[in-house]
């Protein structure tokens, strides 16, 4: 058993499933997820020495996966290859629950990903790490090489923008929660 083997066992093996999930949750296209995942592995390979010395190597690896997936998502949007969702207007004209309650889970996922794809890079990556991967703020800050307060700002701004873009979805969620409690 050599050093590299031990490093892999320590750093990557415990989070292999999380890495795959992190990329799949953003890409959701069997044809594209492999390329995005490979890109992430390439980045990990290039930064291997740095990752080994990083105070929070697993958060950094997850961040790399998120970044790669997010890059692929943005490329998809730029190239107009977004198939699942229809065009989302910048200003939502109708946010009434009657419209939004019909949105299926799949459509909701597509809309959410598209909205995340429209966010600035740092905001999108921070919210994906925080809300989707549930990584603590301190670890996100460490992986993004910035202060925790900066991450909190990114997340807050991302939430605000998503709230605006997806304002037609949020009342629906609210209503569903209420009905389930009842």
């Amino acid at each position: 058993m050599n050093d590299r083997h031990q490093q892999y066992e320590r750093l990557i093996a415990p989070i292999e499933s999380r890495m795959m999930r992190a990329v799949w949750r953003v890409i959701r296209d069997p044809n594209e997820v492999e390329d995005a995942f490979q890109d992430a592995l390439l980045t990990v390979w290039k930064r291997w020495d740095r990752i080994c010395k990083h105070p929070n190597p697993q958060a950094l690896v997850l961040q790399i996966c998120i970044n790669s997936a997010h890059d692929a998502l943005r490329r998809k949007l730029r190239q107009g290859r977004w198939l699942q969702a229809g065009a989302i207007p910048e200003d939502i004209p109708d946010s009434s629950p009657s419209v939004t309650q019909d949105i299926s889970g799949a459509e909701q996922g597509a809309l959410m990903l598209r909205a995340i794809g429209l966010l600035p890079k740092n905001q999108a990556r921070a919210i994906l790490m925080h809300a989707v991967e549930e990584v603590p703020y301190g670890d996100i800050a460490s992986s993004m090489d910035c202060r925790e307060s900066t991450v909190r700002k990114h997340v807050a701004r991302a939430r605000a923008k998503l709230r605006t873009i997806l304002s037609h979805l949020i009342p629906a969620v609210h209503n569903k929660e209420e009905s389930s409690h009842a």
């Binding site: 799949w24 492999e34 592995l41 390979w45 890059d71 692929a72 996922g109 939430r159």
Partner: protein
């Protein structure tokens, strides 16, 4: 303190994105992880390992992988950026100009004599062009998701679109980083006169430079104090126990007029389309036993050879059948092969496989008598079973050719020795005609 709205939007994000990875997808990703793990465990120290991995990461079209990797090197060289300190107005102006540029051209010089370098052109929003001194040119239009790789020496091209183009699209991210240079450098190196210009040098700090390029010692950007334009960059790399290696970024032109025909994706007249040879042929063989990264081409004069060939078109998977046909024909003629079988892969429209035979051997149609003169070739023998990573092996091989100052000047050949039934006896010689780079 998190308020209700924050919880609400976070829950919505979570619910919208929490999906399980389908089993089929997970299998494919686990296969990637297994490959990655093998590479990590065999990882060797090398200043070029990132480049090598780029070359071999995906068994795609080999020459395109090589050109794409060159693009990665170009961009990586430029991406080694500092994030700190002392403000410099001249540097800041140059960095600002780069950040806001709509077009960019520069040359990466890997070696002065013989010249080995890459000319790079970029025009917003997504046009890129690489022109490598070893006769390969890549033109990409990422707005349309298309690219073309031209091999001028052999007058061949590979046209790609859709998914495969995304390999080059990685360079977009690197380019984005170049176009987002930090506003300040850490150390001022001083001034010097060059070509009638007063240049001011700025050294970017090692602490951040080494993260993307192991072994990087210095990254010095020289800026024209008069125009405040980036003039050139000197890069020095040194790994422990190895000599210093230097490369340069020259001829930096920002927001200049770029001839749009540079990004034309139409194949030039007389060029033929090709695909990667060998990948399908070896697809069903066991995993490789020799590390593709370790391949080093030997430059030598090949012996003249005469052969009986089966001229072929279509998939290279027909190679075993072609060899079988030639072998049977030679038996009926009472001719004993003078060497192991081989294939020459110009393109799927024009390739062949056969056996060396004594000069003067009579050949009937549809077989052909081929006379291959003695010529300068690059060669390497891969011992053991070939394995599935044909593209990776050829990429590493061609990279080694270029590093030694030679250019490919003919179609790839593979010469197969050993017994199909005995893995230990098998070997494959990769061979390609080469010419000295100018």
């Amino acid at each position: 303190m998190r308020d209700q709205n924050d919880n609400e939007i976070d829950d919505l994000i979570r619910r919208s994105t929490h999906v399980e990875v389908p089993a089929e997808v997970e299998d494919r990703l686990r296969h990637r992880l297994a490959e990655f793990r093998t590479r990590v465990e065999r990882r060797q120290s090398s200043r070029l390992r990132s480049l090598v991995y780029s070359l071999t990461a995906r068994p795609a079209v080999r020459v395109m992988a090589m050109a794409a990797a060159a693009l990665v090197v170009v961009a990586v060289g430029l991406v080694l950026i500092p994030r700190s300190a002392n403000a410099s107005r001249v540097y800041a102006a140059a960095a600002q100009q780069l950040r806001s540029s709509q077009s960019l051209e520069f040359s990466i010089v890997f070696n002065e004599t013989p010249y080995v370098g890459v000319d790079f052109s970029y025009a917003a929003p997504g046009y890129q062009r690489l022109n490598c001194s070893w006769g390969i040119e890549v033109r990409a239009d990422h707005t349309a998701g298309k690219q073309i790789v031209l091999m001028h020496l052999t007058r061949m091209y590979v046209a790609e679109s859709g998914k495969q183009v995304q390999r080059l699209a990685n360079s977009e991210d690197l380019l984005e980083q170049l176009l987002s240079l930090p506003p300040s450098a850490e150390e001022v190196l001083g001034e010097r006169q060059a070509g009638g210009k007063r240049l001011i040098g700025y050294r970017l700090p090692n602490a951040t430079l080494g993260t993307s390029f192991p072994g990087l010692r210095t990254f010095d950007m020289w800026v024209d104090a008069g125009t405040r334009h980036a003039d050139h960059v000197d890069i020095a790399i040194q790994e422990q126990g190895k000599p210093v290696y230097r490369m340069y970024i020259r001829n930096i032109r920002v927001d200049g007029q770029i001839d749009q025909s540079l990004f034309d994706l139409t194949p030039p007249a007389g060029y033929t389309s090709i695909t990667a040879p060998g990948a399908e042929l070896h697809a069903n063989k066991p995993a490789p036993v020799q590390n593709a990264l370790a391949l080093r081409a030997q430059i030598l004069q090949s012996a003249a050879m005469t052969a009986v060939m089966a001229p072929m078109t279509g998939s290279y998977e027909q190679t075993p059948a072609a060899l079988q046909a030639v072998e049977s024909y030679l038996k009926t003629q009472g001719v004993t092969p003078a060497g192991p079988p081989f294939g020459r892969f110009e393109s799927e429209r024009n390739w062949g496989a056969g056996y060396p035979v004594p000069p003067g051997t009579h050949v009937d149609a549809p077989f052909q008598f081929a006379s291959l003169p003695s010529t300068l070739v690059a060669s390497v023998v891969v011992k053991g079973p070939w394995g599935p990573d044909s593209g990776g092996r050829w990429s590493a091989f061609l990279k080694s050719v270029v590093e030694q100052g030679y250019l490919p000047a003919g179609p790839p050949m593979e010469i197969w020795s050993g017994d199909d039934g005995k893995v230990q006896t098998q070997s494959t010689e990769m061979r390609i005609a080469v010419a000295k780079a100018n």
